[in-house]
Amino acid sequence: MEGNVKDEQLADLLSMWRIRALEETILQLRLDGDVVGSVHLENGQEAVAVGACRTLRPQDAVFSTYRGHGWAMARGVPAEKILAELLYRRTGVNGGRGGSAHFSAPEYGFYGENSIVGAGAPIAVGAALAAKFDGSGRVALTVFGDGAMNQGGVSEALNMAAAMDLPVVFICENNKYSELTPINDMVRNPDLSARAHALGIPAVRIDGNDAAQVATAVGLAIMTAEHGRGPTFIEAFTRRITGHYIGDAQMYRPAGELEADKKVEPIVRLKNALAAQGVAASTLEAVEQRARTEIATAAERALAAPLTDPSTAREHLYV
């Protein structure tokens, strides 16, 4: 058991490093001008995606927000295809049509990012509804931010899933901010999970910087769904340790907050935990290195691929 835990932790560490390296690579590509437009990184929030996605089964469907690169990767989408998407290459998951904030890769169970706050939740409810009839055993997982809880469609989705006992896992990544505004200024009751609870949905508040905790919660949610007991709501506390988007000067952060957040961010934390268990620094180093090498290779390949041909721009509007 203990050995297993350590292996799992090392695997989580690798997954998180992959996402971190992906995001850092994207940042660099954006600063270099290879990637353009608005880009939302999830540095610091990796544990939620990693813990959730390692628990999901192949038949499950993930619906994320614009902050979705890491979710896609945790779901198994190759970094090269994600990077190629952001670089508008033919080899991108959608040939560049989705871009950073709106891509999908259904072949990996990643049903897409969404750039309308809260809009993924009702769509996930639909994917769960389909599961009621298609024998897939699918659970739909949708992730959104703390701010999204104030978007009416999310309330509607929660209620409909509850009323119909639909197999949905709602994950609210509470990273304390909605863009540049603290969530606690925008609500009276800072316990967002209470809203789900009030709708009759089992709701937990967990440490979202601990992949194992996320995995546990999602595992229970899947079982709940499998038993026909419908949705679960998970409020996962985490912190983004970058801006809301690339270029965000983060003036809204109180002094010292970012530094504090960086001390509890999931990679640092897990590294510390593993080191405390006696894992050698070189082993930990190697994990990071492996991830960085993978992503670097992926970036090279993505950059080398041809841009999607503009003559295809009008295809696929209709069947």
Binding site: N94, G112, P122, G126, D134, M160
Partner: protein, 324 residues
């Protein structure tokens, strides 16, 4: 397998939905009050009983309903969702415009959203401003969705089937003033037609009248009353719109009139006019649009009459156009 039945417009839709549920196991039918109560207009009566859980009632949550249709259709279901009044789409327009319409295109064809939205629109006597709008023009500016608008029982049957069978999102806009009208012979059980096309309701030589929706019957009445020799083209499919069919007629008649119940400014009549004149077809008189005056719709019947196009307005416009 094709046979005929005497059906109202509402009954024809009911028959089409029953056939969809019967023959396409991936269909789902849901909306507010559609299942156990059979719909506030009775259009879905009996379907829950016949098809069980695939037909269900939803909370008053248009965003969740439409989102659920998007998600279920992405997974291969073929949801048919009812928005009780077209006006209510507006609380959830995001799920149509930003979500459903984008699924196929943005995913580069890897995903699709074969969902059908059934709704109904327009004024009926005493309906308030929030239950009277004709909103097709809003949908027709949105690439990625299809729009159908039947006004006769046969088309209601046929278009519903074509919409549900279509692999893209389709909005079928019905009209509640027609649901319980006279019964007509409806051919049922025949092959499902592909989407598109128009219906020629009157054939003539001097004017081309393009129209759609419940006002089609007023157009027919105006044509009959004036005796003007006119093609009356009912655009039962507004997207895809049969531009070629309209042009072929206008080329012959040299005169164009477009009639819709929606208010004039920014209505789809402008698009029809623009397409015709852009084509360079020669016109013997400037085209005319007839639509509601640009206004909100008052509940008072006598006021609404002053806003909405009446048969007399259509007839007058037709006469003046034919005379030029």
């Amino acid at each position: 397998m094709s046979e005929t039945a005497k059906l109202t417009y509402g009954g024809a839709i009911n028959a089409a939905l029953a056939r969809c549920l019967e023959q396409m196991p991936e269909t789902l039918l849901f909306g507010e009050d559609v299942a156990l109560p059979g719909g506030v207009h009775g259009v879905t009566r009996g379907l829950r009983k016949a098809y069980g859980e695939r037909v269900f009632d939803t909370p008053i949550s248009e965003t969740a309903m439409l989102g659920a249709a998007v998600g279920a259709s992405m997974m291969g279901r073929r949801p048919i969702v009812e928005i009780m009044w077209a006006d209510f789409m507006l609380v959830a327009f995001d799920q149509i415009v930003n979500q459903a319409a984008n699924v196929r295109y943005v995913s580069e064809g890897r995903l699709s959203a074969p969902m059908t939205i059934r709704t109904q629109q327009g004024n009926s006597p005493g309906a308030c401003a929030q239950h009277s709008q004709n909103l097709e023009a809003l949908l027709l500016h949105v690439p990625g969705i299809r729009v159908a608008m039947p006004s006769q029982a046969q088309d209601a049957y046929d278009l519903t089937l074509s919409a549900v069978a279509c692999d893209d999102p389709v909005v079928v806009i019905e009209n509640r003033t027609l649901y319980a009208g006279a019964k007509a012979e409806v051919q049922i059980g025949g092959p499902i037609a592909p989407i598109g096309g128009h219906r020629l309701r009157r054939a003539g030589d001097d004017v081309t009248v393009v129209t759609w929706g419940a006002i089609t019957s007023s157009v027919e009445a105006a044509v009959d009353a004036t005796g003007v020799s006119a093609d009356v083209i009912e655009a039962v499919w507004l997207n895809p719109f049969d531009t070629d069919g309209v042009l072929a007629s206008v080329r012959r008649t040299g005169r164009l009139m477009v009639v819709h119940e929606a208010n004039l400014t920014g209505g789809f009549g402008a698009e029809v006019v623009a397409r015709v004149v852009e084509s360079g077809v020669s016109l013997s008189a400037p085209p005319i649009r007839v639509g509601a005056r640009d206004s909100r719709i008052p509940a008072a019947v006598q006021l609404a009459k002053a806003i909405l196009p009446q048969t007399d307005d259509i007839a007058a416009a037709l006469r003046s156009l034919a005379a030029r």
